[in-house]
Amino acid sequence: MDDHGQKLSTQHLQAWFGAHLALKEVSIDIPGNRVTAIIGPSGCGKSTLIRCMNRMHETIPSARAAGAVLLDGRSIYQQDPVQLRRQVGMIFQKPNPFPTMSIIDNVTAGLRLNGLRDRRRLEEIAAQCLQKAALWEEVKDKLRYPGAGLSGGQQQRLCIARALAVNPEVLLMDEPCSALDPISTSKIEELIHELRAHYTIVLVTHNMQQAARASDQTAFMYMGRLVECGETRQVFTTPKAQQTEDYITGRFG
């Protein structure tokens, strides 16, 4: 296996909602060009952790964070959050295409709203990103139709294409399949597998089969703490912590 440097890491990361401490000293390394799955029971802080990685956490009033998050070794808290979010894209649990925009405008929204006007260039990028998101064949004849008219699975791939269009290096996916049917889910999983050649992916999931299938590295979280993080095979076959074993064998969660 080739050498994957650390793309992203957190050190003693703590995050609060008001007085509620949702992340307790989480330190995790995310290697580049690999898929890191984050599993754990609902409410354990998975979303909060990845929302700290693109500074979306702090958009919530009363939310705050302490500790370090490093992207390529640089603290993200010393960067402009708007710039950072172009490097670190995010896919949400529920597909959220812009309802007033056509399919193609959805894909290019990040570029257009940041001032790119060249129509030809935008169309080129849109086509590329839709291809990368494995949606091109299904929508190439209806690019001007509303994005909200697609099926849930297609909408989620549209959101992936939209995230890819701003040319990120990291993709944070927050349970991207939990609102989708099994066929759409397997399409997205295939897609994740292909994207990993070019992007660093953090995949939050409550579905352990998905983590086992789609990821190289798995992290298990419990009650705001990172319990264990290692090679996916190792975590699922010989977990180090008792809590991890209990969780993956279905004893709780």
């Binding site: 979306m56 995010m90 295409p97 007033t100 709203l113 001007r144």
Partner: protein, 283 residues
Amino acid sequence: MQWRYHMRKIIDWSMSGAAMMATLCGLIPLILISMHLLRRGISSINLDFFTHMPQPVGEPGGGMANAIIGTCLMVGIATAIALPIGLLGGLYLSEFGERRTGAAVRFAADMLNGIPSIVIGIFVYGFVVVPLGHFSAMAGGIALSIIMMPMILRNTEEMLRLVPHALREAALALGIPYWKTLLRVVLVTARRGIVTGILLALARIAGETAPLLFTALGNQFWSLRLDQPMAALPLQIFTYAISPFEEWQQQAWSGALVLIGIVVILSLLSRWMVRVPQVKTDG
């Protein structure tokens, strides 16, 4: 089993029937008003009505050109003042409304919404007409804007609040700056409801009479000067309707019909305007 099923059917029908009856009852006044206005007013609606000045008593014909233009001008002034304040204020409330100042602004807007329009007329009379020494179209426009502004403000806030939080997050996560997210995503997503609210506010002030009585006063002659008294459709209707002359009363009916017509056209026009960008792609 069978019996319960029938019972449910019967309840279903009777409830649907009741809802339909209620709808009809709600529509009846609208239909009656429209029909009555059409019957009484249509006879003297012709090109002259829109292009000619009022005739002195006893002379047939004539129109309300000055009042139509006056209403348009004053509604225009009111919109120019109330629209930016209302939109920005609504944006402020929906974004930062949780703060103390937000509660204060909201309370003030609601109070303003509840003030009888004649009181607003008197207020503007005291603060604009008296210091300047004469009635004016400007004062009329200001009075109308005070009625319009809180309506737009509160409606804009409500409509912006309806925009799902997920869309903001989507835009922010794409590296779109906050202010652009507000203007190009949140505001655009809510535009249908916002425009509808502006429209309702326009329709409401176009027909307001009381606040103009003490401000624009009305004018039987042609005038486009904003610092002079100006005619307005509702004022003209008011004056003509209570006059003892048959021709004037007839003109009042037609004026009312035109007023309703303006409101209907405005409404159709803005619906059409909101529809267009939906298919258009900007890029």
